[in-house]
Amino acid sequence: MWLPFLALFLGFLAGQTFTFTLPASFAPYLSVAILATLDSTLGGVKGVMMHKYDGAILMSGFFINGTLAAFLVFMGDWIGVDLYYVAIFVFGVRIFQNLAIIRREFISKYVANHLKKNNSSTHEVQ
């Protein structure tokens, strides 16, 4: 259960120990890619919570979404359309949706069960 979070930490450490730094001009594209991958990861967590998890969907979503998001923003800069804000908006909304679903699932699974044990009259929270 804690393995993914440990992996997050280790990945961060690995990035910090690398000596190379991406050029400053890459920062906007990388930020969009991070939003896309964060969305995919939260989607994966949501899938686990809802017992609908599919590893292939997560992996493809993670890498393809990330790459495509960065690439689209790059293309947008190229043709003069500021897709950066669009990507932030879309992925931001999706991230918050995913978070909301994860929160509900978490509460309904663990907190509600815990409360039920103590007080059988409590209703399941939706």
Binding site: G11, I34, F62
Partner: protein, 230 residues
């Protein structure tokens, strides 16, 4: 390790996310420091500071150049002073006899003769005459004349004491200087050489040479005499 099937892929996803976050953190830092992302106000301040710094550095370069020039001047002065001192020391060493010297000069030989007495006073007279004639360094029987050389007579007629050494015939007096001037200086009529030759019948030999070498004496040691301090 991966008990449930979702763990592997989710772990990979999280690790990649961590890596990306970390890279972004750095890229963002670089972007914040990048001049392209600064506001024009900040850029103006930076430019102004750099300008000030530029003029300060130019001023510093000039100051340092002036300083270098002064140092070079004083260094060359020191060098000149040092050279002068070295030459002075060399001269004093030659005068004191602590360094071997060579040059043209005169050799006066007094060969063995049993009939006529040649003593310490005669040696001193010849040496005095040589100094007077412009000799720059003198030696007797291979001993250099220095500031504390002395000659004393002995009981025997054939020996002289020179600086605690007993020397005897043939006496060889070597002097460095202009050979002709030395020769003329000591050979003046009724001078010491003339008197020795004509009155005392001592068979002196005087020879002008182009090059002769005189040895050095050991450096004098002073125990009681010290320089007067100002």
């Amino acid at each position: 390790m991966f008990k449930k099937k979702w763990q592997l892929t989710l772990t990979i996803a999280f690790a990649s996310l961590g890596l990306l976050l970390s890279l972004q953190l750095r890229a963002h830092k670089a972007q914040v420091n990048d001049l392209n992302s600064q506001s024009s106000d900040t850029l103006a301040v930076i430019a102004k500071n750099l300008n000030t710094k530029y003029y300060q550095l130019i001023q510093e370069v000039w100051d340092l150049r002036t300083q270098r020039k002064l140092l070079e001047q004083s260094a060359s002065q020191n060098k000149t002073a040092l050279e002068a001192m070295a030459m002075e020391q060399q001269k004093l060493n030659i005068a004191l006899g602590t360094v071997p010297v060579e040059g043209p000069g005169l050799i006066i030989t007094v060969p063995e003769n049993s009939e006529n007495y040649f003593g310490s006073q005669d040696t001193i007279d010849i040496i005095n005459e040589l100094w007077n004639a412009g000799a720059e360094a003198v030696s007797v029987n291979g001993w250099r004349i220095s500031n504390n050389t002395f000659f004393l007579p002995t009981n025997e007629l054939s020996t002289i004491i020179m600086n605690d050494h007993k020397i005897s015939y043939p006496y060889v007096i070597k002097a460095i200087g202009q050979p002709v001037a030395l020769d003329k200086g000591i050979s003046i009529p009724s001078g010491i050489i003339d008197n020795l030759k004509s009155i005392y019948k001592i068979p002196l030999e005087i020879k002008q040479v182009d090059k002769l070498g005189l040895p050095a004496i050991s450096s004098p040691k002073f125990k009681y005499a010290f320089l007067v301090k100002d």
